[in-house]
C-alpha cells in the first residue's frame, strides 16, 4: 500500500479548470503523477454516467473543476454539475463506495495554486482510502 499512486480523473471546465491547470503548470507547481485531465466545454457537460464509468474503469477518484457559482459562462452549468454530483454520491452510498471519491472544486482561470493544492489533497486522501475496490 506504500507505493500506491491513486489514479485521478480530473474533469476540467474549459472556461476555468483548464486554464487554471495551464497556469499551475506555468508556475511549475507539481501535480501528483497520475492525473488524467479531461477537457470539457462546461462542467454541465459531465454526465453522471461519466463519473461512475470513470470509477468503474479504474480511476480511484474523480475531480470536477468547475467555475464558481454565478460565474459560469453558460450561466447554470456549474450548478447542473453539482446536482449531478449529488446524484452520483447517492448512488455511491447505495453500493457502499466512499462518496469522497468524487468531488467538485470551484475555481477561476487564475486559481492555478488552488488547483494544484486540491489535486495533492485529493491524492493524499485517496491514499488513505486505498485503491478503488469497484475497478473492473
Amino acid at each position: 500500500m506504500v507505493n500506491f499512486e491513486p489514479k485521478i480523473v480530473a474533469f476540467c471546465c474549459d472556461q476555468s479548470g483548464y486554464p487554471a491547470a495551464d497556469m499551475a503548470g506555468g508556475l511549475e507547481l507539481n501535480f501528483p503523477g497520475n492525473v488524467e485531465f479531461v477537457r470539457v466545454p462546461c462542467a454541465g457537460r459531465i454526465e453522471t454516467l461519466y463519473l461512475l464509468k470513470a470509477l468503474e474503469r479504474g480511476a480511484d477518484g474523480v475531480l470536477i473543476f468547475a467555475c464558481y457559482e454565478e460565474n459560469c459562462q453558460f450561466l447554470r452549468g456549474n450548478l447542473r454539475a453539482k446536482s449531478r454530483l449529488s446524484y452520483a454520491h447517492r448512488l455511491l452510498e447505495k453500493i457502499g463506495l466512499e462518496k469522497e471519491r468524487i468531488e467538485i472544486c470551484h475555481l477561476a482561470t487564475n486559481c492555478g495554486p488552488k488547483l494544484a493544492e486540491t489535486l495533492h489533497r485529493k491524492s493524499e486522501q485517496l491514499k488513505k482510502l486505498g485503491p478503488n475496490p469497484a475497478k473492473i
Binding site: 486554464p19 454565478e70 475555481l107 477561476a108 482561470t109 492555478g112 488552488k114
Partner: protein, 328 residues
C-alpha cells in the same frame, strides 16, 4: 485592449502598443476573490480578454514599445515608436489612449509605515500574494496572520496628499479580498476601517449583507491615524477612533493592508504633452475634442473597475468607428 478587439470585430484594423512585456495591465495581476461563490471581481474576465486579444485576426500587437513622437493632424497622424533599440514610424487615422492607472504609492502616507514595516502591505501586494503563492502570510516571518486590518481610502479622498477624488474601486476590492480570506482561513479575523462604503451594483447589496453578517469581519467607520511598530515583538498597533465606544482606541494587528487608490501613471505627463491633452479637476485625462481623432478610455480618464473599463472601452470603440466613418 478591448477597444482594439471591438474595432477588429467591426472590420477596422488596429495596432496595440504596450509598454510592458505582457498585455493585460494592472487587471491581469489580480487574483480571484471568490469565497463559496463568485464575488464578481471580474479578474477572470481580464485574463480571458488577454487570450481573446491574442486571438484577434486584424490586431497587430507591439509590446515593450513606447511612443516617442507624433506628427501630422487629425485623421492622418504619424506616430514614432521605440521598441528596444529599433524605431519605426506608422501612419494611423485615429489614436485611442488607454494608458491606465497605477496604484497610489502608499509610502507617501508616512503615518502608516508602508515600506518601513514589513507587515504593512498594500491591497495589491496581497492580491499578488494570493494569485501567485496561493496563500496568505505575514511577510516578516511567513506565518498566518490571525488579525488583519484593512485601511480604506489610502491615497484617495485625502486633502493632505492632494487626491481629492474617490478611487471608486477600492471598497469593493478590499471587501472581496476580505471575503476571500475569510473563506480560505476562517480563523483569521478581519477589520475594515472606512469612511463610506461606496460601491453600487446589481448584487452588491447582497454581498455587503453577507459581509455584515460575518462575525469575523468588523466594519468600523473610522480612519486610523497612525500605525505603531514594536521592534521587540514585531507587532503592529493601530490608533483609531472607535465609533462604538466614542473614544480613541489602540489595537494590535498581525497584518495591515492598505487599500490604495488609483492615480494616473507617472509617464502620463509625457503622453499628455505629446497629445496636448488637458487634465480634469481630478488630475485624470480630460477627453479631447472629438474632431482631433484622439480618444481617451479606461481608468486614465477617471478611476474605473474592470467591468466599467470594458463598458467604457466598448463605447469609445463605437465613437471611434463613427469618427472614421465620418471621415471616409
Amino acid at each position: 485592449m478591448t477597444v482594439a478587439k471591438e474595432l477588429a470585430q467591426s472590420g477596422v484594423s488596429a495596432l496595440l502598443i504596450e509598454r510592458d512585456p505582457s498585455l493585460g495591465g494592472l487587471a491581469a495581476s489580480f487574483c480571484c476573490k471568490a469565497s463559496e461563490s463568485c464575488n464578481k471581481c471580474f479578474a477572470c474576465v481580464a485574463d480571458k480578454r488577454v487570450l481573446e486579444i491574442r486571438n484577434g485576426p486584424s490586431i497587430s500587437i507591439l509590446t515593450q514599445t513606447e511612443l516617442t513622437g507624433l506628427k501630422g493632424g487629425p485623421g492622418a497622424y504619424n506616430v514614432s515608436l521605440k521598441n528596444g533599440k529599433g524605431r519605426m514610424d506608422i501612419d494611423v487615422s485615429a489614436i485611442v489612449i488607454a494608458a491606465g492607472v497605477d496604484p497610489f504609492d502608499a509610502s507617501l502616507k508616512a503615518e502608516y509605515g508602508y515600506g518601513r514595516y514589513k507587515n504593512v502591505i498594500t491591497a495589491r501586494d496581497l492580491d499578488e500574494m494570493l494569485r501567485l503563492r496561493g496563500k496568505l502570510f505575514c511577510p516578516s516571518d511567513g506565518r498566518l496572520p490571525k488579525t488583519v486590518a484593512f485601511f480604506q481610502c489610502v491615497g484617495s479622498r485625502d486633502e493632505s496628499i492632494g487626491n481629492l477624488y474617490c478611487s471608486q474601486v477600492c471598497c469593493a476590492y478590499a471587501l472581496r479580498l476580505i471575503k476571500a480570506i475569510r473563506y480560505q482561513y476562517p480563523e483569521t479575523k478581519a477589520a475594515f476601517l472606512y469612511m463610506d462604503i461606496q460601491p453600487a451594483g446589481a448584487s452588491f447589496d447582497q454581498f455587503l449583507n453577507s459581509c455584515r453578517q460575518d462575525k469575523g469581519i468588523r466594519l468600523i467607520r473610522s480612519l486610523p491615524s497612525k500605525v505603531y511598530h514594536s521592534p521587540l515583538s514585531d507587532g503592529l498597533r493601530v490608533r483609531f477612533v472607535d465609533p462604538l465606544k466614542g473614544e480613541v482606541a489602540e489595537e494590535p494587528f498581525d497584518l495591515i493592508v492598505l487599500s490604495v487608490g488609483l492615480v494616473l501613471r507617472k509617464d502620463s505627463k509625457s503622453l499628455a504633452r505629446l497629445f496636448n491633452l488637458n487634465f480634469n479637476e481630478e488630475g485624470f485625462f480630460a477627453p479631447p475634442p472629438a474632431q482631433t481623432g484622439v480618444f481617451i478610455t479606461g481608468a486614465c480618464s477617471g478611476p474605473k473597475d474592470i467591468d466599467r473599463s470594458i463598458i467604457h472601452a466598448k463605447s469609445i470603440a463605437c465613437t471611434v468607428q463613427q469618427y472614421l466613418k465620418g471621415r471616409s
